[in-house]
Symmetry: C2
Subunit: 444 residues, 2 copies
């Protein structure tokens, strides 16, 4: 039709399509994380994308409000898209407490929406992958959260990583000992700048901002930047704090001992008293995770312990501990360093087609290979071999099976290795075995 209007296909600013390669990577990352969550007894939940705005805003300040996708629905309700998975978790646990019981261990993978400034390379729709244990103050749950982070990064096999561990009680003890407790917020903000502006500049800020004496600033920074083994760091900070940090030191000691007992290498779980992770939310253990090859992208899995998850929705006090995997940041980073290998994610074999009138025969051979545990894609049309092999290459197939008129007559098939380019002709009866051998897989 000549008068047909074409609508320009486009997505909203800050929103992304995921093409197959990117989506396969995302599925690999999430499947790996889910397997680890499950192996530790975390169970999945889901909550609606849309909630009452009142539920989502709760304690949230003006900044959250401005970022919110908020509107009136057709029934006149004030609704908004969730901006994280923590607020919905709090609402969920408060609402279903009777059914869930404690300890309640859940994971939740899903999109969240924030109308952020996209110029900082941020997206307005992104995936979160959170796990938490609710309803226990036991440090065994803190240890487990760190162990889950460890097991995920070990399973991903993307190079070395280090989980940085701290406990907010250490800093609280130090500040109380130094009589700087009332300036906690300012001190935390300064300390967060340590990696960027260095120790001297932070000391200067502490003197200016909170009126710390040079001795106070020195003592604080000496404690926060102690280096050595975990045991050395903990012993030294206990000494520097003169007993005031003992609760935090004891908690960290227990978590570190648990991780050692679980076989976690000391290089992968380091006490780092300089990590702070925000001001209000965390009250005990805090975690950050850095990749050895790309520390500059920042923490790829962060979290910690909090005193009370859902005080806004229930009078039940719900302490907990958890962390959040930065799926999109991690995938972008892995792509940058070439660690995203999705060659195993796709199917392994392209069954080419040479004679459309024998379509059912090709379907039959492909199905029999699939019953043997192989992944087989059938090219749907009898096109030139070159086009079909190009397609096999684009889809990342490792083998192409070629059966033309001669092969049908002889009851054979050619198997082409897409990487080496080598071909061999085999009897149809041994095709499955040959494919398994070339792919290094085991017959079902």
């Amino acid at each position: 039709m000549n008068d047909r209007r074409i609508i320009q296909p486009r997505t909203l600013k800050g929103f992304r399509d995921f093409l197959p390669d990117a989506m396969q990577s995302r599925e690999w990352l999430i499947d790996t994380a889910r397997a680890v969550f499950r192996s530790h007894g975390y169970v999945p939940i889901d909550t609606p994308a849309l909630e009452y705005t009142e539920i989502l805003l709760g304690k949230g300040g003006a900044e959250t409000d401005k970022q919110l996708y908020r509107f009136e629905d057709n029934g006149g309700r004030d609704v908004a898209l969730r901006f994280d998975l923590t607020v919905p978790l709090a609402r969920f646990v408060a609402q279903h407490f009777g059914e869930l019981g404690v300890p309640f261990k859940r994971y939740h993978v899903g999109p969240v929406w924030r109308g952020e400034n996209t110029q900082r390379g941020r997206y307005r729709e992104f995936l979160q992958c959170d796990f938490d244990t609710i309803g226990t103050e036991s440090l065994a749950a803190d240890t487990e959260a760190a162990l889950v982070i460890h097991d995920i990064f070990a399973a991903l096999d993307i190079g070395e990583f280090t989980i940085h561990l701290n406990n907010r009680l250490v800093l609280a003890g130090l500040l109380s000992e130094l009589e700087l407790a009332e300036h906690t917020a300012d001190v935390l903000r300064s300390i967060d700048k340590l990696p960027k502006i260095g120790r001297d500049a932070v000391a200067g800020e502490l003197r200016e901002l909170v009126g710390a004496s040079p001795a106070q600033a020195d003592r604080l920074l000496a404690a926060l930047t102690v280096t050595g083994t975990n045991e050395e760091v903990l012993a030294r900070v206990a000494e520097l704090a003169g007993g005031a940090a003992d609760a935090g030191v004891a908690a960290l000691t227990e978590v570190v001992a648990g991780l050692a007992a679980a076989g976690v290498a000391p290089s992968r779980a380091r006490v780092d008293l300089s990590i702070a992770r925000g001001l209000d939310y965390y009250t005990g253990t805090v975690f950050e995770t850095f990749l050895a090859e790309i520390p500059e992208i920042g923490s790829v899995c962060s979290g910690g312990r909090y005193d009370d998850l859902a005080s806004i929705y229930t009078k039940q006090r719900l302490p907990g501990v958890g962390a959040s995997l930065g799926v999109d940041r991690l995938l972008a980073a892995l792509e940058e360093i070439g660690k995203l290998d999705t060659s195993d994610a796709g199917p392994s074999i392209l069954m080419t087609m040479f004679d459309g009138s024998r379509s059912a025969d090709y379907v039959g051979v492909a199905a029999s290979l699939r019953r043997g545990g192989l992944s087989v894609e059938l090219y749907p049309e009898a096109r030139k071999l070159g086009s079909q092999l190009k397609y096999a290459d684009r889809k990342g197939h490792r083998l192409a099976v070629i059966i033309g008129g001669d092969e049908w007559s002889a009851g054979t098939a050619q198997v082409k290795d897409m990487v080496s380019g080598d071909s061999q002709t085999v009897e149809l009866g041994t095709l499955e075995e040959t494919c398994h051998r070339l792919l290094g897989t085991t017959p079902r």
Copy 2:
């Protein structure tokens, strides 16, 4: 705090929380479908939840518009939540055509939103799970779509099922032969009522609505309700249509032959000329899938072939074939007939805790079992055994491992079978082996 306001935790009408049991079922269903999609060479994509309203509404009429969650975003854009995955697929393929090429085979699992009347038991947020092959007219792609449906329901192992196959060209041929082609829409609407109101009532409607003679109505209904083997039905309808349905009959014959070659039992793929599936969209093969135990819930996986997916966004003609798995309907139905067994979804072993001061030792034993390929949840606190076993039961654990003071001293552990209640005491060194034996699993 006394003055703290508690916000009542609640979800919006038509929106649901997924508690762990429901969510585990959903993950099982989707994981099963994804494995089948991948084994046939379909690759995953994702698209944004929010799109320009103009993109989503395209051809859509007033009804779609009324159901839309539509609003103005903070940047003044007219946006809406997607109401299906087909419109986003069309936009996606048009936008990325150069990168994707054809044939393009994708699956897409994600939530969609419709502000429907919830009184009919419908939800306003629900999950769709679609797969399509774009860019080929080859019937091998139609056969494959039916085979994917077959492989999913075979893998789910939820009882017998039948895929009903039709081709819109059969009906078109019949109507043209009977000189009723101009009344196609009305005829389709009547025929859709066949299972509910029966053949005589439909014949009556056809006479009234479209002025069909008794002979015309009889001949049409005789053709559409032919029974027998697939081959018998196809031969008989070819005869009844006097050649006018030959294109449709030939296409169905090819698909049926392909499915037979792939080893699909004839009872699982039946030609059924009475299924119509909507008026405008499908142009060739159509599918519906019914479960033998609960046919009354209707089709749980439906789809078909269309001539042109994305004519509104591109001048490129994109024929295709695909289907959509009714995830929520299927899960609700399976729950009703007790076929939702999630006992294998959770972790298998609860490691109980008796002495909080030995927390690291429990963590260590649990981690060593996990390294052996077992799923082990550690109870985080030293509470009464009864509470811990109750928790193990609620989480669906199959074994509980109990190590108290005596066991630590003796280097042993008790293993309790949560189903039979039997207990045995074993050396710590053989604990992993014992658990594998009791669970029937294989050491890693």
